[in-house]
């Protein structure tokens, strides 16, 4: 029953070899932002290679990089809020405490983690429409359920007389204007006001509270709240739309905060000279937003998607026998990595190279101190065996390898491929080996690298496994929880056997490079164009919230030029973000 065939049964070998040949284990990676699940499927070329093809790193005076199609900004698209946008928007408008009764329902809405990196959300389903309705209904009722609630919501509401007309009563007009502008992310038009006054009348016929509730329900179900509508700008060239200042503000809040504009940003949009939020006024808002706590939350969400940290295994019981300690370690590993990325990006004005090489860490958990071999604290310098994010426990963590203290070479190899936007396609599930090569039971004399090498030696496996193994090998000195190990320790019938680790590898970055471990690997990636190019793709995808297309090329190149210019010093990560959201193509869309 059990087959000894590894990677491919004879009947499927042909297809597998063809797949490897076609993909070269790299195909689609540049075109799909590193989503291994779709890279091989669509094979789109997004124009991401355009700059590299031309070798032109110049930036025109209008802020558009040369070497991309300046006349074709990203395609317009109607984006729906993902869960983080939605909850942050509600918190921003009503306060976090108001959301408590609906938190559980909010959790049922789609998150932003569909795809590895993007803020894509799936097509809307009935359950979500139902959830939107229930949340709106509950929130509206709770916020208006008695006089005290009404006053807390909008000070004068508690004294509005029964039967008041929302089209003329000053308090109700102010209420509708205030909440309408926040939720719809722009000042209301007369038509809007008339409509919401009509909505008030639906409940207002019974009481002011019910009238206010029906207005809030209408606003919370409005497509201009649940979707980012960008249709009102000026057509500055045939088929090219420049966003209104309020649409731009909403886009800034979506990208930098995962939220909606606050009052100050709305005011800046309203007061924008000539209706265009640009220049110093724009830069002031971007700086303010990046200094705000909300930027850290959004960056953390992005980094979690970028590095696929949604599922992080616990360390083994051998390392932490206590279950609570294992969970504490798991939580700390993820938090430390995200805090590190936040600190490099927003506190230290760090560059891409700093992400790969900085050894500073801040954490409190003793479990993580045990993994790193240092005392917990703020701004601790990690030992020499660490560099930047690729040597942090949160990135290194893999499932425990049975009967071994090693980390999983293939899982790390796959992660590195995704980190470089060169994902290696998984084998057909039907061709997966029946015995786990990671398990040393059948081959206890060699290390995990050699075990996989033996298991994947057949031609139908070797192509991709050479890459996977090569990617994973430099991390060989880190155990499954990311702890440093000098040797792999294998359990052979209850006896511990030491096996040496070979962390040397040859990898293809810009060129083929030889590395002898994770630090050297980090240095090589930091010095290459491959890593910055990949991050540029992810940052761009985070903006457009869909797989990249050719029209996204200028945005992507803006980020790439900032992260890794051919001449001159690279810009910081923060300045890269500033460059992206200040780019002309951030404020323009190509109409369908």
């Amino acid at each position: 029953m059990r087959s000894s065939t590894r990677c491919g049964s004879p009947t499927r070998r042909g297809a597998w070899i063809v797949a490897v040949f076609l993909t070269g284990c790299y195909a689609g990676a540049h075109g799909d932002g590193g989503d291994a699940g779709t890279a091989a499927d669509d094979g789109d070329d997004t124009g991401a290679d355009t700059a590299a093809d031309t070798g032109d790193d110049g930036v025109d005076t209008d802020g558009i990089p040369s070497g991309c199609d300046a006349d074709t900004p990203p395609a317009a698209a109607l984006l729906r809020m993902h869960r983080d946008n939605y909850v942050h928007a509600l918190e921003s408008v009503f306060g976090a405490a108001a959301l408590e009764p609906v938190r559980a329902t909010i959790e049922t809405l789609p998150s932003a983690s569909m795809g590895v990196f993007a803020t894509e959300v799936p097509p809307v389903g009935f359950s979500e429409v139902s959830a939107y309705f229930n949340i709106a209904s509950q929130l509206a009722f709770d916020l208006t359920k008695d006089a005290a609630s009404l006053t807390a919501l909008h000070a004068c509401l508690g004294s509005v007389p029964p039967g008041a007309d929302a089209g003329s009563d000053a308090c109700l007009v102010g209420f509708i204007d205030t909440f309408g502008a926040r939720l719809l992310r722009r000042p209301l038009t007369d038509e809007d006001r008339s409509r919401f006054a009509g909505d008030f009348a639906v409940g207002g016929a019974h009481s002011v509270g019910e009238g206010a509730a029906t207005v809030l329900v209408a606003m919370l179900l409005d497509p201009r709240f649940l979707y980012f509508v960008e249709t009102e700008g000026e057509e500055i060239a045939p088929g090219v739309l420049e966003l209104t200042s309020h649409e731009l503000a909403a886009r800034l809040a979506r990208v930098l905060w995962d939220s909606v504009p606050d009052d100050e940003l709305l005011a800046a949009a309203a007061n924008a000279e000539g209706g265009r939020l640009e220049g110093d006024a724009l830069r002031d808002q971007i700086d303010r937003m990046l200094d705000d706590e909300r930027a850290r939350v959004a960056l953390s969400r992005f980094a979690g998607n970028w590095l696929a940290l949604d599922v992080m295994p616990q360390p083994s019981a051998a390392l932490f026998p206590d279950a609570d300690a294992r969970e504490a370690a798991r939580v700390a590993m993820k938090a430390e990595l995200l805090d590190f990325i936040e600190a490099v990006t927003l506190d230290r004005d760090g560059t891409y190279a700093d992400l790969l090489l900085d050894r500073t860490a801040s954490f409190d958990a003793p479990e993580l101190g045990q993994i790193y071999g240092v005392t917990p604290g703020q701004d601790v310098t990690l030992p020499d065996d660490r560099a930047g994010l690729l040597t942090r426990a949160g990135w290194l963590a893999t499932n425990e390898v049975i009967r071994s203290n090693a980390g999983h070479i293939i899982k790390r190899g796959r992660r590195l491929g995704e980190f470089l936007c060169r994902p290696v396609p998984p084998p057909d599930p039907g061709n997966f080996p029946t015995e786990d090569p990671a398990d040393p039971a059948t081959n206890p004399d060699v290390g995990i690298r050699e075990r996989f090498n033996a298991a994947a030696s057949e031609p139908q496996c070797a192509g991709c496994h050479q890459i996977l193994d090569g990617h994973g090998a430099p991390f060989g000195h880190y155990g499954a929880a990311g702890q440093w190990i000098d040797v792999e320790q294998i359990d052979v019938d209850g006896t511990a056997v030491d096996v040496s680790i070979d962390a040397a590898s040859m990898l293809e970055l810009d060129d083929v490079v030889a590395v002898d471990g994770a630090r050297a690997l980090s240095e090589a990636i930091a010095a290459s164009d491959v890593g910055p190019q990949c991050l540029a793709e992810q940052l761009t995808r985070n903006i457009v919230a869909r797989p990249l297309a050719e029209s996204d090329g200028c945005l992507e190149q803006t980020a790439r030029l900032a992260l890794a210019p051919q001449d001159g010093a690279p810009q910081s990560l923060r300045d890269t973000i500033v460059a992206l959201v200040s780019s002309p193509h951030f404020r323009q869309v190509t109409l369908p």
């Binding site: 395609a75 109607l78 429409v129 309705f133 509950q138 009722f141 019910e210 409005d222 497509p223 201009r224």
Partner: protein, 497 residues
Amino acid sequence: MTMPHTIGRRRFLLGAGGAALVIPTLSSLLGRDAEAGEAAPNRNFISWRISNGFYGQHWFPSAAALAGLQTVGPNARELALGDIAGPVSPILDAGFDPFRDKAILMRHIDRLDWGDHNDASGLLGWSNGAAALDGVDIASLPPSIDQLIAQKLGGGTVPLNLTVHWSTEGRSASFSTTGSGQLVAEPALFPDQAFAQLFTNFDVDDTALARLRAQRLTMVDRVLDHYTSLRNHPRLSAADRAALDQHIEHMHTLETQLANPIECGPPEQPAAYEYAPEAMNAAAQAQVDIAVAALRCGLARVVNFYLDPDTLLNEAVHGVIGGHHGASHDSSPAAVDSILNAHRWTMGYLFDFLGKLDATVKPDGTTLLDDSLVLVNNEIGNQSGGSGGESPGDYDNNHIGVDVQVMLVGSCGGALRTGNLLDFRTDFTRSRWSEYIGTAYNRVLISCMLAMGLEPDDWEVGGQPGYGDLRGAQYDMTPLDQVVIGDMRAYLPGLEA
């Protein structure tokens, strides 16, 4: 007796689709404590636990009927239940016929634990019997799937555990783990307790309710205009329009269901629970009616039935000699008949429950049963012996969890493909018990969780694939290495719609 978590009495106004369409403000309107908001997925999970094992010849179709099984994948064979002439089996008799198209009957599902009498294996995937969990890190175990599902549904949902039992404590198959490493069964409610908890003071301000419903209906209708207006904006792409069309369609569904609320109200109040054989039928019927009312009113989304009167099933009323448990340790013809009669007793109430769910029809023609997933399971497996029990006397009384009794009913909102017998036997054979080694039961549990909208991250611990495939001291007694576990993050073959 410790009372379970309070089930909120907050949902009194339902769309025809059930709980997802409640107007959750009404409880506050009536001065009740508002609880968490309603969960979105409009699906219910019900488990129906049977005790003391079964005989294959009573439950499965005959070998002749199974001759039509078609191989549909590795370790997966399939037969349409509608293709079986006459009753499916002595237990799944004419009373089951209305549900053939809505059921998935499984064959050759094996538990990974040793089995024997226990409360936990049905929903936790592993026996809580003596020594079964020795060596297992209980503190890090997730709870049983009913609780995981309730957590996922959100809105303060907790399982409603209903029991009919010989003991004063009652029993539940819903298990939690404590930080100190204890496995704890959640308390269960006898009929009078369940009624009191759910329906005492079940009063509704009809005027306020009607007004509020009318307001919300109007708001959905008004907002729809703006979706239509945006949908027709010339600057939107065809893809954007298609997305909005979907949204509009769902809004129309919402509108329709709000306009056609399911009537809901309390069932007849049951008498105080009485420990007498003559009282068991009424008690079981009361639990069925309470569950149906709770599901219709949106007072429960997860219900666990544990109907096990044991010695309170007697010969005079139920045709069970020596108690249900006693009969399971006796392979005499009378005892085998008693096991059959005990099954017919519980199945009668199951079929009544299924029928009442199926009679609750929504405007789109689907029913509350279609929205639900009913997991029927037995604590112990097929006791018929190596040949499958076709011949009298071939009874093993093994009390082991092989070739277990498991059936799903309801498509879970269209997530499941129903109407089939699915046989998951492997090519491995045994020298005793069921001839063929099967596929792991915990994959049934994973399939249920997937159908209810859970994702692996909702049940996995530390990112480790699997649920209920524990390696405790009992490991050496299991067929673990031979049972096909397969993909621990996917449906069993043939289940997914």
